[in-house]
Structures are given as structure tokens and as C-alpha cells.
């Protein structure tokens, strides 16, 4: 078995003295692991940093095997990330969430394309928070927990949408909410692509997507909690406000 693909490095776990088990997110093979020999060498050390765009060649005797990767760097994102606290927190959140959410060896091409585009924006701190919010919404959608904010789940109205149902992820208008309003999540306009998209609005919107990550997606894929890296990104954004 052998294939060649591009991929985003998600994680690296030491394996023996010199090798590592690397997980990469690829367009055609999804989240896929493989052993990289000599991963702790001086040559490969700087290449194998989370977020790096790699040219990957995977080989194994049988498809079920872990297999081994031959890697070549296409572009490094470490330098951009290390230059900014927000970028570093963002990179950590993206790779941690992808590693957490994605099933192994299942392609998710639209999410891959969005992830690559998002990581290429690292370092552009004024654009990044909104791009991250859009990416997180697409992550939820790709994994079956997308928010439907086009119309009210109760009345069908497309105006005056101010709530999100924590059960269905659908928008609800003030009229439709009635006496249930206090049990619904707020719907920040930025989630519908409306309003000024200030950082405070984005943080509020991330609380809504965070609710669905924590209460819907995470329990569906196992017992592990959503990675801490996401909370640290939101802390970073909040610190930027003060």
C-alpha cells in the first residue's frame, strides 16, 4: 500500500528513541497516522511542528497497518505562529480540535480546505478571530452538528432571530421563543454574518459554538473533554478586549 498526499501536521508522539508517530490531516485520506523515522533528528525537528504543511508519502504492507511516512516540508507555519500570542493560541486550538474531532482515515475535503486557508491566515490578527469562528461553524457542520440559522424553527420567520435552540441548533425568533426564551442560547448577529464582528461579538459567538462542541459533539465521539487549547484561545481573545 502506498499513497502520496499533502497534509497538515496535527500531532507528533515520540516513538522509541528517534522515531515519532505523526498524525496529519490530508485532503484525500482524512486524519491519518504513520511512523516517521528519524523524527527527532536535527533535520526533521524543525519540519515536524504542528501546523506544518507537508508532502507525505505513506507506505505499509497492509492497509490496516500503521505504516510509515516519508515527509517533506512544503511550508512551515511555526515562525508566523510563534511571532504572535494569538496566532500561537489559534494554531494550538485548530490542530487540537481537528485531532480531537476527526475520525481516522475519513476524508473531509471541505473542512480540509477551510483548515488550510485558516492556517494560512495565521499572523493576521485582525482577520483571524472571525475566520476561526467561521471555521468552527464549518467543523460542526462537517461532523453533523451544524447550526441552521436561516429561519425560526418555530414560526419560520427570517427576521428577528435572536436565539439558538440548544437542542436542534436552529435559530429561534423572539416571538417564537415565548416563555422558553430563558432556556435558549443567544444568537449573536455575527453567527449569521451580520453586524460589525467585533472581537466581543466573536467571543459571544464562540460561546455558542462551544456549547455545541461540548454538549453535542464531544459526548458523541467519546468521553474526552474538548481540548483545553480552545479555552486558552478564548482567554487570549478576552485578554485582547481588556
Amino acid at each position: 500500500m502506498e499513497w502520496r498526499d499533502t497534509g497538515i501536521l496535527l500531532s507528533l508522539r515520540k516513538h522509541g528513541e528517534n522515531s515519532a508517530i505523526v498524525e496529519a490531516f490530508t485532503p484525500e485520506h482524512g486524519r491519518h497516522a504513520g511512523v516517521v523515522r528519524g523524527a527527532s533528528s536535527r533535520k526533521l525537528g524543525p519540519v515536524l511542528q504542528p501546523g506544518a504543511q507537508l508532502d507525505l508519502q505513506w507506505r505499509a504492507r497492509l492497509e490496516d497497518h500503521l505504516g510509515s511516512y516519508t515527509v517533506e516540508l512544503q511550508r512551515s507555519r511555526a515562525a508566523q505562529a510563534m511571532g504572535s500570542r494569538l496566532a500561537l493560541a489559534g494554531l494550538n486550538a485548530v490542530v487540537a480540535l481537528l485531532g480531537f474531532c476527526l475520525p481516522e482515515r475519513e476524508p473531509h475535503l471541505p473542512l480540509y480546505q477551510r483548515s488550510e486557508a485558516l492556517l494560512d491566515l495565521l499572523g493576521q490578527d485582525e482577520l483571524w478571530p472571525l475566520a476561526y469562528l467561521r471555521w468552527e461553524m464549518s467543523l460542526l457542520e462537517e461532523l453533523g452538528y451544524g447550526l441552521d440559522l436561516s429561519s425560526c424553527a418555530v414560526t419560520g420567520a427570517i427576521q428577528g432571530l435572536v436565539h439558538v435552540s440548544p437542542k436542534s441548533g436552529r435559530a429561534v425568533s423572539a416571538k417564537g421563543a415565548g416563555e422558553w426564551a430563558d432556556r435558549l442560547l443567544p444568537l449573536p448577529p455575527v453567527l449569521r454574518g451580520e453586524g460589525a464582528a467585533e472581537d466581543a461579538d466573536i467571543i459571544e459567538a464562540l460561546r455558542v459554538t462551544g456549547f455545541f462542541l461540548e454538549s453535542k459533539l464531544a459526548p458523541a465521539i467519546g468521553t474526552r473533554p474538548v481540548p483545553e487549547a480552545r479555552a486558552r484561545l478564548i482567554d487570549r481573545l478576552e485578554q485582547g478586549l481588556s
Binding site: 524543525p46 512551515s76 515562525a79 508566523q80 505562529a81 511571532g83 500570542r85 500561537l88 494554531l91
Partner: protein, 197 residues
């Protein structure tokens, strides 16, 4: 085979050491047996002594043979600077260079979502206590130029902001490094950190 049982057991233990495999462990054991008086007995004595006395410094986390390591015990190293490193191996690397004259603080790792190492697993509260207790004026973050290393550096910087001067090691072209062989991330970091001549 039973006559070599003890020797085989020794080879098996030696083969577990970093840098040694079964073949190199066999060679090492054979060499020690040949130089029993010169090498093996002193090594065994020294290992017994170190096994009994080696411990972590209660102050900085360095490995020494006393509760407080030599660096922390030396008055002349209390110059107001603390160099924060991830691991004892990093501390020893800094000491080999012989350039830094202050004290150290060993974190015991770096933040890592994958390995489940959060801030509470690192000795950051102890670092904060030391800053107050030892009248520290500068904290030098000597952490690896990796995503995990720099995430940890920024986390510590957030915790210490306003209390003390914070600096970190420079990143860029290593001594003897040729640009042609450097990865683009290192070149980019070096360019960002360029200085006027």
C-alpha cells in the same frame, strides 16, 4: 547458558538506556568485564552512591545529591536572574555553555494538549513564589523553539506580566549554520529578529 545469566541480565538492563540497543549494550558489558578493576568496579560503586543520594533540588528542580543543589546554594548566583528551562537536560546544556551566571528554574515539561500536560502539571506556582522570595528582577524564558515550548513561554509570560522583566532566548540562524540548509521557518524567525550592525 545459566553461567551467563547474570551477565545477560546486565546486558538487558543496559540495553534499556537511551542510545544503547542490545548489540551496543553487549559491547559495553564486555568492555566493562575486561576492565573490571579500572571501569566496572568504580562504575558500580559510583552508581550505588548516586542511587542513594540523587534527588531533585527542592528549590529549582535540578538534579543533585543534596536537597538544595549547588547552583541554588551558591550566593554569588543570586544576581536577580532566573532562567526558566523545561527539563534538567536543558539546564545542563545551559551550564555547559558557562555563560549564564544566575539561577535556574526547571518546569518539568512544556504545556501539551496531546500529552495532557496542563499548567497545573508544571512548577509555575513555585516559580512565582521564588520571584517574590528571591527578589528576582529578570526571568529568562529558555524554552525550545517549538510550538509547545513557545506556548508554554507565552503562558508563563501572561502569569508573570507586570511582576518582573521577562526575556526569552533569540531564535534564528545557529552558529555555523548555512542558510541554504535551513528550513524556511528558521529563516523567517531569523529575519524577524534581525538586528542592526
Amino acid at each position: 547458558m545459566s553461567s551467563t545469566k547474570d551477565i545477560d541480565a546486565l546486558i538487558e538492563i543496559m540495553a534499556k538506556l537511551p542510545g544503547l540497543g542490545p548489540r551496543s549494550a553487549r559491547r559495553a558489558v564486555l568492555q566493562m568485564i575486561r576492565k573490571r578493576a579500572l571501569l566496572m568496579q568504580p562504575l558500580a560503586d559510583q552508581m550505588t552512591r548516586v542511587a542513594a543520594t540523587a534527588r531533585e533540588c527542592l528549590n529549582c528542580g535540578n538534579i543533585g545529591t543534596a536537597d538544595i543543589c549547588d547552583i541554588c546554594a551558591a550566593e554569588k548566583r543570586a544576581n536577580g536572574q532566573i532562567c526558566v528551562v523545561a527539563d534538567v537536560a536543558d539546564l545542563w546544556a545551559m551550564e555547559r555553555a558557562g555563560v549564564f551566571k544566575g539561577r535556574y528554574h526547571v518546569l518539568g515539561g512544556t504545556l501539551s494538549a496531546l500529552d495532557g500536560i496542563g499548567p497545573e502539571e508544571l512548577s509555575i506556582p513555585r516559580l512565582i513564589d521564588r520571584i517574590e522570595a528571591e527578589g528576582v528582577t529578570e526571568v529568562i524564558l529558555a524554552l525550545s523553539a517549538t510550538i509547545d515550548g513557545q506556548t508554554t513561554a507565552h503562558y508563563i509570560a501572561d502569569q508573570l506580566e507586570g511582576r518582573v522583566t521577562l526575556t526569552s532566548l533569540a531564535q534564528g540562524v545557529p552558529i555555523g549554520g548555512e542558510l541554504d540548509y535551513l528550513d524556511d521557518g528558521t529563516i523567517s524567525a531569523a529575519l524577524n529578529a534581525r538586528k542592526s550592525l
